[in-house]
Symmetry: C2
Subunit: 201 residues, 2 copies
């Protein structure tokens, strides 16, 4: 009798298949073959094909989120943390082709306008990550005293917009320019100093 397969190995194999063929066109057997098992055997590890897919995607999303979190942890001030977050998120995705393909095939994973979302908890964590940077920045008086919860939602939406452009558009340079201008706008705003309304505090 063989040792139990490490679940992460299953997710890595499944990720390869799902990224190449998409959910509908990959068979449970495709995944089993990559692991040198039979399809029946996979049901020892996951309930059904759908669950395998959801857990595989979660695995990929969490790996991505983890890298971004690491990048943030390396920085001290809120200003640099916010910029590190944006940079790393785009940079990681540019390098993880499998995740890009998964997202391209199935945009509901990272929906611009979510209705119901099986990955909601992961996305909520991302929003909280933004919120905690904002909170820190407001406390440090680097950021204006904005409504942290609402603004982190707004930023997450804009963040999604840029991310989706990153894997939809093939034009690398275009995305980079868009990215820089968007970040500048969000940090500095449109108004010149004299026109700005400073929120209370």
């Amino acid at each position: 009798m063989r040792a139990r397969i490490d679940v992460n190995e299953i997710y890595r194999a499944a990720l390869q298949a799902f990224a190449e063929f998409g959910f509908r066109k990959t068979t449970v057997e495709d995944v089993a073959e990559k692991l040198n098992r039979t399809k029946g055997n996979l049901y020892f590890y996951v309930k059904d094909k759908r669950e395998l897919y959801i857990k595989t995607v979660s695995f990929a999303l969490e790996r991505w989120q983890g890298r971004v979190r690491q990048a943030i942890a390396k920085e001290k001030g809120a200003r640099n943390q916010l910029m590190a977050m944006c940079r790393k998120a785009v940079e990681y995705l540019a390098q993880d082709e499998e995740l890009r393909n998964i997202l391209k095939r199935d945009p509901d994973i990272f929906p611009m306008f979510p209705t119901v979302d099986p990955y909601e908890s992961i996305n909520r964590r991302s929003v909280r990550m933004i919120a905690s940077i904002l909170k820190k920045g407001v406390k440090e008086k680097v950021f204006r005293p904005v409504d942290v919860d609402k603004v982190s939602e707004v930023l997450f939406s804009i963040y999604k917009m840029v991310i989706i452009q990153t894997y939809i558009k093939t034009d690398e340079a275009y995305v980079q320019e868009m990215f820089d201008d968007t970040l500048d706008l969000l940090l500095n705003g449109l108004f010149v100093e004299s026109e700005r309304s400073q929120l209370g505090g």
Copy 2:
């Protein structure tokens, strides 16, 4: 022999039908009946069903754009023009249920991430509208000297995001809050004064 039908009457009739049933489920006869003609007769006015749809949608989009343009024309400074534009765009859509339904049924009309777009020329005009306000504002030294072309693209993307939320989300209050916070962020930015980088000029 009857007088030629006014094309705008055709578009109004078609808009009713397309908004209620969608492109696929409305028949040319549905539209003809609203005009008290036979379906064959409509081919005297339009090439085919697809063209009828595209011209009908264009009619609705241009009416919308016209109202926004009027609202802008009433204002003097770039600052107020920008705010009037945002306000009117959302306000008009909230009131035009047919257009909302058309957009909800067929999101490709106003795509978050356009590939090919039959309404491109209309959307380009919207971007130019934003750009001209920005240009004026930079000249008046109300706005920072940003790259007008790029920033108007960025703003149009964010504008689309808010608009789509407006007809997707049923929750009126949520959209309004989102709208206010987004506008504040874009105008004033996140940084406190001392952290801001003023662009040259």
